[in-house]
């Protein structure tokens, strides 16, 4: 009996030592391997994952939008037209009470949109023009990570952050996760507050979250998004594939200086502003 106990204690002590020591040994040998050999693909990608780079990986279609504020400044009614077009295309209700407001694209002052930009001594455009705001269809969308039912997800085919209202349970985690306030919750049945129905698009029901879908249903028909169409000819809203160097939007982005909302959060928004 005694002999067995001694044997057991020895064994236990040895394995405890090995357990504590092993990670250190692994760490040492691993860092040696990296130092000696050329960095492999896995380590090469590591810096990008830290959010140091705001460049998106240029693969596949990634739809994006540019708002040219110079055009919106020229014609103040333009933005109102775009909002109305979106509202009627998607059966969006109108509530007087701002707490219940449902918005896919809306307007806000510069300091509300670009909260991390200084507004000291800003120009006339920045002071007086209402900025269009919508879902940024981020490359790394925090709302998608927050959703417990996968009711919101990123479409791999075009980068649109889409919603499946059938699955939404109305927990509003996505609303808390979205740094842009791009999501609205249906506190009540929206139907009585919809002025005119677009009969080829559904409404939403009480208890789901909704947001801009980059007009996925219109794109499928070969049409432009409703807000783009409403601003046609003015160049105020440019829409297209950010990863296609020949697209109108890529050429515009190459030419102009643009800003994006809250880039420091690393969500990689797909909506740009020329101010």
């Amino acid at each position: 009996m005694d002999k067995q106990r001694r044997k057991f204690l020895k064994l236990a002590g040895a394995s405890a030592l090995a357990g504590i020591g092993a990670p250190a040994v692994v760490k040492l040998t691993a860092s040696n391997a990296v130092a000696s050999s050329a960095p492999d693909a896995g380590h090469g990608a590591a810096p990008a994952a830290h959010g140091d780079s705001h460049e998106a990986a240029p693969s596949g279609v990634r739809l994006g939008m540019v708002f040219d504020m110079r055009a919106f400044e020229k014609d103040p009614k333009l933005l109102e037209g775009a909002i109305t077009a979106c509202n009627s295309a998607h059966n969006i209700p109108h509530f007087e009470d701002r707490k219940r407001e449902i918005k896919w694209i809306w307007k806000a002052p510069f300091e509300g949109v670009f909260t991390d930009h200084s507004v000291y001594h800003s120009g006339k455009l920045v002071k007086e023009t209402a900025f269009p705001v919508t879902c940024n269809h981020c490359d790394d969308p925090p709302c998608v990570r927050a959703c417990p039912t996968q009711a919101t997800f990123k479409l791999e085919t075009n980068g649109i952050v889409a919603m499946d209202y059938h699955r939404c349970i109305g927990c509003r985690f996505c609303m808390a996760a979205c740094p842009y306030g791009a999501r609205s919750f249906n506190w009540q049945d929206p139907r009585p507050y919809i002025k005119n129905y677009n009969s080829s698009f559904p409404s939403r029901m009480k208890g789901v979250v909704e947001k801009c879908n980059f007009c996925g249903e219109r794109l499928a028909l070969g049409q432009e998004p409703a807000c783009v169409e409403a601003c046609k000819g003015t160049g105020a809203v440019v829409f297209g594939d950010l990863n296609d160097p020949k697209s109108e939007i890529s050429k515009l982005l190459d030419k102009e200086f643009t800003i994006q909302r809250k880039t420091n959060l690393g969500t990689k928004p797909s909506v740009f502003y020329i101010v």
Binding site: S88, N91, F153, L155, T157, N158, A162, M163, D164, Y165, H166, R191, I194, K195, N196, Y197, N198, S199, S200, F201, P202, S203, R204, M205, G216, E217, A220
Partner: protein, 131 residues
């Protein structure tokens, strides 16, 4: 057997109670629903029997195709193309939810929540866009 006098009548009462829904209507299942079929066109996206049995699976499949897989390809019936969806395909021919969908759903006492969001033709016509 002890307490024969209470157990046997008790069992009979229990069985009668449990089978109440069956014998109450005189062993008849009521009038079978007669959904109104569209006047034109005799063909649906799938054979009638299959539609009767599994239209809900097909609708779910379409939903996932359209929303998740980005596959909004058309369905073709009798040379005519339809977009996948309740409002855009089904209700193009079956123009009345009340006379088609509801007949069977009420009979079978199923309450699908399609119309919480999707617009029935009547609902859509009630607030038609005027421009």
């Amino acid at each position: 057997m002890y307490n024969k006098g209470t157990i046997i009548p008790g069992l009979i009462i229990f069985v009668l109670f449990v089978t109440f829904p069956i014998w109450f209507n005189g062993l008849s299942a009521g009038d079978l629903p007669k959904p109104e079929l569209p006047a034109e066109g005799t063909q649906c996206v799938r054979p009638a029997g299959e539609m009767r049995e599994s239209h809900m699976q097909l609708l779910n499949e379409w939903r996932d195709n359209v929303l998740r897989d980005g596959n909004r390809s058309y369905v073709e019936v009798g040379g005519k193309k339809y977009r996948k969806g309740l409002q855009m395909a089904c209700m193009e021919c079956h123009t009345s939810k009340e006379k088609f969908c509801d007949t069977c759903h009420e009979y079978a006492s199923v309450k699908p929540y399609c119309w919480d969001c999707h617009l029935t033709p009547t609902e859509a016509a009630s607030k038609k866009e005027t421009h």
